[in-house]
């Protein structure tokens, strides 16, 4: 049902808090947020991915991550082709 496919890179966990950026292809059907894209990757491509989320409505602030170099809420940011997403960008991180 996907209208388009995009490619994004996401930092994965490597045990020492550094991690490397992996590239993933995500199908989109309509306006999609970064959090939904990460959920798709974890469910269908790479179950080892970790990130934090709670309310999905931009209220709790739990999914704050570094997106294209800026701190942004994953649930409130529209995902775009070529985006670089770093769930570990925060100093203290817990999925």
């Amino acid at each position: 049902m996907a209208d388009v496919q995009i490619t994004i890179s996401v930092r994965t966990w490597s045990g020492n808090g550094q991690g490397i950026f992996q590239t993933y292809t995500v199908p989109l059907s309509g306006e999609t947020d970064v959090l939904t894209a990460l959920e798709h990757i974890r469910a269908h491509v790479d179950p080892t991915l970790a990130y934090r989320s709670s309310c999905r409505r931009g209220v709790c602030g739990g999914c704050l991550m570094i997106i294209d170099g800026e701190p942004r809420l994953a649930c409130e940011t529209e995902v775009r082709d070529g985006m670089k997403i770093d769930p570990y960008g925060r100093r203290e991180f817990t999925p």
Binding site: W13, G30, L49, S54, C75
Partner: protein
Amino acid sequence: MRTLRTGVLVIGSGGGGMRAAIEAAKHSKVTLVSKGPFGRSGATVLAGADVMADGASLHRIGFQNDALDSPDAWARDIAIEGFNLNDERLVKVYVEGAGAEVGALVRWGVSVRRTIPRAILTTGMSISAALRKGTSECGSSISVVENTMALDLVKRDGCVTGAVALDRATGELVAIEAGATVLATGGWHQAYSFNAGPDEATGDGQAMAYRAGAELVDMEMVTFAPNILLAPPRHRGSLWFYILPGMLLNRNGDAFLSWLDPRVAKLAQTTEWNKLLVSHASANEVSAGRGSPLGGVYFSMKHMPENVFAAIASDHPGWRFQGDDFSSLMETLRAGDAAEVGPAAEYFEGGIRIDDRCRTSVPGLYAAGECTGGLFGGNRVSAATTEMLVHGTVAGRAAGEAAAQSRATPPLRKRDAEALGAEALAMLSRSPAVPVEELRTQLRELAYRDVGVVRSGSALAAAGNRLSELAEAVESLGTTTKRREQNLEWCRAVELRNMVQVVRLSALAAFEREESRGVHYREDRPVVDNTQWRKHITVALRGNGPALSHAPVDGASAVRAEVLPYEDAIIQAAEALAA
């Protein structure tokens, strides 16, 4: 395994958990365990939010409310709304405790936008901030352990003596010994493929209580909120069109809510009965083959004159709601398109059975808020925020007093905690037969389809069989991700086991209740049967599996013993509430 020792252990850091911690701290040291970040996770921040109390109590606090209202008048309405399945002792505690809770929130600085006849209107974030202030005023009496997920309750000599928990950051297991334990873990929203809850709401408290032998009640009762956005993915699950005025249409273009009886339509338009009534009407359109492509119905604003639309726009600056920006979606509605919406799992009337001091059937274990059952009977219309606050206070006080006694519960045996922790660790050592996410998707779709808005005996029987298989499958879950730290897959596996157990209990109770009552609608039994079914269905772990029983409704006032068509029972309730 590291061991922490505390007086009262509170599991869950939403409003119920915070309120319990504040009250328990008057008597005892408290440890508050939060699955996510403290004060920024759980369902409370998402609340609408009205906090209810009777008009006279609000009047005494200083609001311009009806001084002639009373807790008793409100209690009568709650029993009608709950299809007379409410535990009336719990209703009494709720209505009589509500005023003091609003007063406490006001003292902690909650922002009150305005009042309506039986409530103050505020936001979930403001309630959460007020309770965080209350928590911080307790100083070192309350220790908060964040990002830590309770795995199981630890028992000894028939008593709950604490819990074993998982630090999600490090993967370390920790045993927490407590004189009394309070569960305040919320609902099981995430067990439904379409829901309006936070990611943490996975039935952990209900499942842990069940495994510890506690009785659960009214598990078949699940409220769905209507008009929840199905698409685009970015806004899926939002209540935006639940709060906006509009017209619901089926795929033939019929405004199907106009088919409701006028007395019922008034309830649907003016009260939170809309959850039951509009969800039901929407689901009926879908099952009659008149739904939208995504399996919902259409929400339209096309009928509105420009200036009416503009007035609504001015009430919602920037088309923002919670943190979401709906401006691009609203452009399409203004242009005349309709959005696809449907009912989403939103509140759970059933849960852990408690008495009027929030004690469960297992010594040492208390429960508060949405994870409990019995207060709202078959249908919640009054505020869940008030429930969490009143229960929090009552449970916190009872647990605090118990923990302050020298021999509240026996000491926790470390090997018991280690044995329970080993079950979670075993998930890391097994390879997955079926991926966690695949089983999770299967469960969620089954729950929404078969334990959803419209149920039937045959679908529930088939679901029950599938859920027994899933219950076996989750006992041997394995993860692809083997590390202990930052292992989201592992956390989801633990949650999946809880959700499967809880949905299974809900489906069993829904199959058992061979009638329709409140939010439980059986298309094969479309009658409210007060001759046989005005009673609770309880369920508890006995031996290796769930055992169902029936229990009388505590303190129940008399109702006429008759069998009524479901629609007539709703009309009768509408007339009684208007009287």
